[in-house]
């Protein structure tokens, strides 16, 4: 297929995934900030929402204070923020338009009708919290419909695989960023200095990767920070965990490799990361520093993006 088509499919999937992630982040932050101050402590949750979205410094070019109104606006609707939800959906639509031939009509319909709704209903932004909640649900549903229609209607060929690469690369990045910002809440018991208010922080982390229920099914335990870290990093059964993203990335890259009859740097690099995740234990990770581990992962993950681009997309 055309390199440009593959590139568009890859980025289209990333934009949709990112939009959903931003919606989850806002949703989780809204919940935690709605609690009385005694339960959440003094940290500015809106600031950490900006950090997990990776737009901290740029935000302050446009705003003085990281409060609900400003951060929600910046992450959702701001034209200045290149990866605001609105810009993500617009970029996704533009990408879809340029690769319409590679999309099924169901996928196009999802993106196009969301884009139409964005123009028609959400052009001015939500007027109150209730509308905001509705908007966030709309974004999550867009992503679910997009994923679902891709899964149900696309031929299982390179177009599908490149699109999946985008999903999983972006997803891994998003999960890693939450961990990067919140890792200090997840340290093992003996190192941890927090109090009971952390409970709500942990829930918030799980919520932003939609894993609250999953946690209980997997561990059958009350919330333990190191188990949350284990779930998000190493547990292959959680779709948003780093391990799961990398099983998928490796599989999709292998499928491409088989179809094209050759492997390359992208396959090797992805397998390297996957192997490291597979052979890691949380104990070791904690011992060598969670923060260092996560930062290294973020760098490795973005390196994979560059390698895929070089190998296939240009």
């Amino acid at each position: 297929m055309l390199s440009r088509t593959a590139e568009n499919l890859f980025w289209l999937a990333r934009y949709v995934e990112r939009a959903e992630y931003l919606a989850r982040t806002i949703d989780a932050t809204l919940r935690v900030t709605a609690l009385p101050a005694a339960y959440v402590g003094k940290t500015n949750e809106w600031d950490s929402a900006l950090l997990t979205a990776g737009v901290g410094p740029a935000f302050y070019d446009h705003y003085e204070e990281a409060n609900e109104r400003n951060v929600v606006e910046y992450l959702s609707f701001s034209a200045e923020n290149p990866s605001s939800i609105k810009n993500c959906i617009e970029a996704a639509r533009l990408n879809s338009r340029s690769v319409r031939t590679a999309l099924t009509s169901e996928m196009w319909d999802t993106i196009n009708s969301s884009w139409i709704e964005l123009q028609a209903v959400w052009n001015k932004g939500p007027a109150n919290r209730e509308e905001l909640a509705k908007f966030l649900r709309f974004v999550q549903e867009t992503s679910l419909r997009f994923d679902g229609s891709a899964y149900r209607t696309m031929l299982r060929n390179d177009a599908y695989w490149f699109s999946r690469l985008g999903v999983h690369l972006e997803r891994a990045d998003n999960t890693a960023r939450i961990l990067d910002v919140k890792y200090h809440m997840l340290l093992p018991e003996e190192e941890h200095v927090g109090g009971p208010l952390d409970y709500y922080q942990w829930t918030s982390i799980l919520r932003s990767v939609s894993a609250t229920t999953a946690y209980h099914w997997v561990y059958r335990e009350t919330l333990k920070p190191w188990l949350i870290a284990d779930l998000l990093i190493l547990n292959d059964t959680l779709p948003r965990s780093l391990a799961s993203c990398y099983s998928n990335l490796v599989r999709n890259l292998d499928q491409i490799g088989v179809a094209y009859g050759r492997q390359g740097a992208a396959q090797r690099h992805a397998r390297g990361i996957r192997n490291r995740l597979e052979h890691s234990h949380m104990d070791d990770i904690f011992q060598h520093g969670v923060h260092e581990f996560i930062q290294e992962f973020i760098a490795d993950n973005s390196r994979l993006g560059e390698i895929i681009t070089k190998q296939y997309l240009i």
Partner: protein, 472 residues
């Protein structure tokens, strides 16, 4: 202006046979139901994303072409005549182009003045002596047809460069079949759906000799911001070929390749929807970012077929148009089946003085204009506009032609005040491949939605209708 010939009701109240069933159906159908279906159709168009961009209109970057749900119907007999005329016309266009870029018999026979060719900016000297596969220059032609009476089809314009609109022919039909299954069941409408197959086989049939047995065809678009982008992606999809932009292509050793995820892949035929000027920055406009450097040298080497060929503009130029009846006679020794609109060439002194004396009654068009821009419609213009145009005309008479204001036929159309006649034209699409010429029975009917308006262009408030050709 006199009452125009109506496709449904003729010149008076004599219901024409092809419309009998429709007329009955309209009487049975409450007006609300029509309006409801109209809204449904609009919704479908928007969801599918069948939009076009209007340049210089940032408010409505993507607009819908209004779709009228009342079909325009033609009988099999009418179509047979039209089809024959179209084939004759396109054959003549192709022979003319071959001659202009080779022996130039028609110039030596003094049928067309030389300067009209050689000083014409759409004449491409690069094409002199260059052979194209099977001598086909115009693989896809869109011939704009009007009528003023039941007996004659008149060509308003030949489109031999990159005619657009065929996606509307196909999508209008899809939507009509979805919205009015009962109405279809009561007619025998010839299908249009094989157009993409016909187009692909025509394109493959003109692959260069150096191509493999399974030639690779690609559709080249200027990109998502082009006004006809939807059509480009629609056609590429239906044909199952890659939709490429200039940056996807690269020329190496006079062969054209596209950049794919598996490396470079050779392309043999390009159905290009990019104007000549932008094809190759090394040959044409150096500032073109849409083109492919070296494409013309691959073309000259015979390793790539461009459809339509480079330089076809010389055949659909409005100044050449007036010579079309002579062109048909010269190459085919036949009488033209399709009429021309009477045309005054302002470059000729006698014609100019007639035009200047009768500006208020005439339509004056720029020779190189298109899309309905830059023309004067005498009867509809104010005195001041006419006088301003008169100056323009005197300053550069060779830039204009004039035609009588024709009462284009009308067709019943949904309006705010119920069904009313609106002026229509028709653009059938003529495909020419190595061994035959095909016209899918139908075309794009464009309708001027404003009462009394004669301008059907979508960029100027025109709409479209489905076109039904009835089987015997």
């Amino acid at each position: 202006m006199a009452v125009a010939f109506d496709e449904m009701n003729g010149l008076g109240e004599d219901l024409r046979p092809a419309y009998q069933e429709l007329s009955r159906w309209l009487k049975e159908t409450p007006p609300d139901a029509l309006e409801y279906r109209r809204q449904e159709a609009e919704l479908l168009f928007r969801r599918i994303g069948i939009t076009f961009a209007v340049y210089g209109d940032s408010e409505a970057q993507e607009r819908l072409i209004p779709f009228d749900v009342i079909p325009r119907i033609m009988s099999a007999t009418e179509w047979t005549l039209l089809e024959k005329g179209l084939k004759q016309r396109v054959l003549a266009l192709n022979m003319f182009l071959k001659d202009i870029y080779h022996g130039r018999d028609i110039l030596r026979a003094n049928i067309i003045p030389e300067d009209l060719i050689f000083q014409n900016p759409v004449f491409r000297p690069e094409m002199n002596g260059q052979d194209v596969p099977h001598d086909i220059y115009v693989h896809i032609a869109g011939i704009d047809i009007i009528r003023t009476d039941p007996d004659n089809f008149i060509v308003l314009e030949d489109n031999a460069r990159t005619p657009s609109g065929v996606s509307y022919m196909l999508e209008n039909r899809e939507i009509m079949m979805r919205l009015f299954p009962d109405l279809f069941a009561r007619h025998r409408v010839a299908p249009v759906e094989r157009y993409p197959d016909e187009l692909l086989s025509a394109l493959r049939s003109v692959a260069p000799h150096s191509a493999s047995a399974e030639p690779t065809v690609a559709l080249m678009t200027p990109g998502v911001y082009n006004s006809a982008y939807y059509e480009h992606s629609f056609l590429a999809d239906k044909l199952g070929i890659e939709l490429v932009e200039g940056r996807d292509l690269i020329v190496k050793n006079d062969e054209v390749f596209m950049r794919t995820t598996e490396g470079l892949k050779r392309v043999d035929v390009i159905y290009r929807r990019v104007d000549d000027d932008f094809l190759d920055p090394l040959t044409f406009r150096p500032d073109s970012a849409l083109g492919v450097p070296g494409l013309m040298s691959a073309y000259a080497a015979g390793n790539i077929t461009l459809a339509n060929a480079v330089g076809t503009g010389i055949a659909d130029d409005k100044a050449i148009y007036s010579y079309m009846p002579d062109i048909v006679k010269f190459y085919l020794s036949e009488e033209p089946i399709l009429k021309n609109v009477q045309t005054w060439r302002c470059r000729e002194a006698q014609d100019l003085s007639y035009v200047l004396d009768n500006l208020a009654d005439l339509v004056v068009k720029e020779v190189h204009g298109s899309g309905g821009y830059g023309m004067l419609i005498g009867p509809a213009a104010t005195k001041a506009t006419i006088e301003a145009f008169r100056d323009k005309l005197k300053r550069e008479p060779e830039g204009f032609i004039a035609q009588p204001t024709l009462a284009l036929s009308t067709c019943p159309t949904c309006t705010d005040k119920g069904l009313a006649p609106r002026h229509v034209d028709l653009r059938p699409f003529v495909l020419t491949g190595s061994n035959h010429t095909t016209i899918v029975p139908g075309g794009l009917t464009r309708v001027a939605l404003k009462e009394g308006s004669l301008v059907v262009n979508s960029s100027q408030g025109g709409g479209t209708k489905d076109t039904w050709i009835l089987s015997e």
